[in-house]
């Protein structure tokens, strides 16, 4: 059974998201990038329209959107501005562990309040000294009566300085490596918890990224998701799913790059004709189109598997690595099409390139994606 058609409802999601990207995101994207400022009005409007925290389940009053719905919307928001989309995306990333491992009581307690305003969630796995090697995390969790006490530092946490709650991964037994980790929800305002916004990012500068410090932060044991020991598995299952929107956003960036390149190439003249009439330019445009179409279908495929509850880790890894690499190349080629104008911030293409660089890095570097894919290939052979 293969059906490539979006539902009527999905087409409407798409057209709403497209309109939002065009009318609300695009006009302010350059300014927030330049000023490294948080697009508060955009997030507020996104919340009013229901575009924020879309995967919160219906059981607690949310929309309960699926992975494919999210990908369709994500592509449009990424088209408008990848940095701004990351705010939306990272909130869904913070929600996902609760969908996968939260009890109904935890979902009600943490997710329902998110719906009442333009509120964000966050996900904290990376640390100053480890990223890809998540099993080496140093943030410590110590059980003390009915509480868990946290100490340590988390790094590169999107929305970390603004989130209502952050899902924090910590080790309660470093000797057990992965199996000694847990996932715990830390609410904003807990004593000993502080967040410092990081500055100087190359791109996605509208998206706030923070360093989180935990100094004897005490949270009830009832905030632990699943069982102690499940932490690493929850983190990996979360990323298997949330790499799909990263891929979708990348497709959006690539589509934007192509549109900008098309627009410029048909206006700019050289040797007496629009440069779009030269094969050297046409090949670049065609290459972008090839990448966009293939990346989108791989992204949809991964989302479709996720929505059916089937294994999707490999498909998501392929989508994420392929789409973000492709989008970076597309932005690069769009810049080439623009020549000198592409190199200045009067035109939007240099920002596309700076922004989408991060898509190759976050939620598992593209090297890690390739490891995931290769492990799947070699699993049986090397056992």
């Amino acid at each position: 059974m293969i059906d490539f058609e979006l539902t009527e409802e999905q087409r409407q999601f798409q057209s709403l998201a497209r309109q939002f990207a065009r009318e609300v995101i695009k006009p302010v994207a350059a300014e927030h990038d330049r000023e490294e400022s948080y697009p508060e009005a955009v997030v507020r409007r996104g919340h009013e329209l229901g575009l924020l925290n879309t995967i919160v389940p219906e059981s607690v009053g949310g929309l309960g959107l699926g992975s494919l719905d999210e990908a369709i919307i994500g592509e449009e928001l990424g088209y408008g501005c990848m940095g701004i989309y990351t705010i939306f995306m990272a909130s869904e990333l913070g929600i996902t562990p609760l969908l996968l491992a939260g009890s109904p009581e935890q979902q009600e307690r943490f997710l329902a309040p998110l719906l009442s305003g333009p509120k964000l969630a966050a996900f904290a796995l990376s640390e100053p000294d480890n990223g890809s090697d998540a099993g080496a995390m140093k943030t410590r969790a110590v059980f003390d009566g009915d509480d868990v006490v946290l100490n340590g530092t988390k790094m590169w946490i999107s929305n970390g300085d603004r989130a209502e709650f952050t899902v924090v991964f910590a080790t309660f037994d470093p000797a057990q490596r992965h199996r000694g980790t847990l996932a715990v929800v830390v609410e904003k305002g807990r004593q000993g918890f502080s967040a410092r916004k990081l500055h100087g990012k190359l791109g996605q500068r509208a998206s706030p990224t923070a360093e989180l410090v935990f100094e004897n932060v005490r949270v009830p044991r009832a905030n632990v998701l699943g069982e102690p020991g499940d932490g690493f598995a929850i983190a990996m299952r979360t990323l298997d799913r949330t790499r799909i929107p990263v891929a979708a956003g990348s497709v959006g960036v690539a589509r934007r790059a192509l549109d900008e390149a098309l627009g410029y190439a048909s206006q700019r003249h050289a040797f007496g004709k629009p440069i779009a009439q030269f094969q050297a330019i046409q090949f670049k445009l065609a290459e972008m189109k090839i990448g966009i179409e293939t990346a989108r279908w791989q992204t949809y495929h991964a989302a479709w598997l996720a929505d059916r509850g089937e294994p999707h880790g490999e498909a998501a890894a392929i989508a994420k690595a392929y789409a973000s690499d492709m989008a970076f190349r597309s932005a690069d080629e769009a810049l080439n099409v623009h020549g000198g104008y592409g190199y200045v911030n009067e035109y939007p293409v240099e920002k596309l390139m700076r922004d989408v660089k991060l898509n190759q890095i976050y939620e598992g570097t593209n090297e890690i994606q390739r490891l995931v894919i290769a492990r799947g290939l070699l699993k049986r052979l090397l056992e």
Binding site: E8, Q12, L16, G50, L65, Q267, P274
Partner: protein, 260 residues
């Protein structure tokens, strides 16, 4: 005296304003074109919703019904109206090419069947830039018309409107039932929110046939279609601002001959 008002809002699904449309073999080729709800009609949907949300105390809106007459793709415009907040939709589905007068006969029949008190429709239809539909519907029903309307309130059993004329505007009073054609300036149409898109799925969208409304034949037949196209010069003036401005002024004077 009407206690509550039933509003019909008439919609079309038309090519996106940014779409590039071509004519081929004497007919417009719509292959690959993106369609959207006609922006002029969208003001009507928004106005109906605002009236229902309690503009004036005298108007209690019983129901907002979105109506479309046209091919299958018009359904999407109806879905958009439902997602914006219309209560239900009626789609008279046909591929027949009907001129505005013939369309008006069908839409008038729908209005009679529905017992509508107020019909809102775009001041002009973006597909062929005809501004005839609203007037033809009013004529068909023998109802008063306020065209090119920029302000609308329901007062008692009538309407007060302001509408544009060639030289300015006029304030009008007209009794219900009536037809109002809408345009830019009347309001700012809302986005259909995600939750409302999802709720719209459960709303009624009735499919009807042209035959049920007497299947009027087109009174005019379109023999050939052409699209006026004028290529832009696409000339970019590069260089230092002062220099570029001088060059631009020279081009406007010498080549375009719009400056002397």
């Amino acid at each position: 005296m009407e206690d509550s008002v039933k509003i019909l809002t008439i919609l079309k699904q038309v090519p996106d304003a940014e779409a590039r449309v071509r004519a081929q073999d004497g007919a417009v080729d719509l292959d690959g074109v993106t369609f959207v709800i006609d922006g002029m009609d969208e003001y009507g949907v928004e106005e109906a919703l605002r009236l229902r949300e309690g503009g004036s105390a005298a108007a209690s809106v019983e129901e907002v019904v979105a109506v479309a007459l046209g091919p299958q793709r018009f359904e999407e415009a109806l879905r958009t109206a439902l997602a914006m907040g219309a209560d239900r939709a009626v789609h008279v589905e046909t591929d027949a090419a009907l001129d505005p007068v013939a369309q008006a006969q069908v839409l008038a029949a729908v209005a009679r069947e529905e017992g509508a008190d107020l019909i809102l429709v775009g001041g002009k239809q973006a597909d062929w830039d005809s501004a005839a539909l609203g007037a033809a519907v009013a004529e068909s029903l023998g109802w008063p018309l306020s065209d090119w309307t920029t302000e609308l309130t329901v007062e008692g059993d009538g309407l007060r409107t302001r509408h544009d004329t060639d030289d300015g505007s006029e304030a009008l009073e007209l009794p219900l039932p009536a037809v109002v054609t809408t345009q830019q300036g009347l309001n700012e149409p809302r986005y259909p929110t995600l939750p409302n898109i999802m709720k719209a799925k459960r709303k009624e969208l009735a499919k009807r046939t042209l035959e049920e409304f007497g299947a009027p034949a087109a009174k005019t037949v379109t023999v050939r279609q052409e699209i006026q196209t004028r290529e832009r010069l696409g000339k970019l003036v590069d260089g230092e601002p002062e220099e570029a401005a001088r060059e631009l002024a020279r081009l406007l004077a010498d080549e375009a001959k719009v400056l002397s």
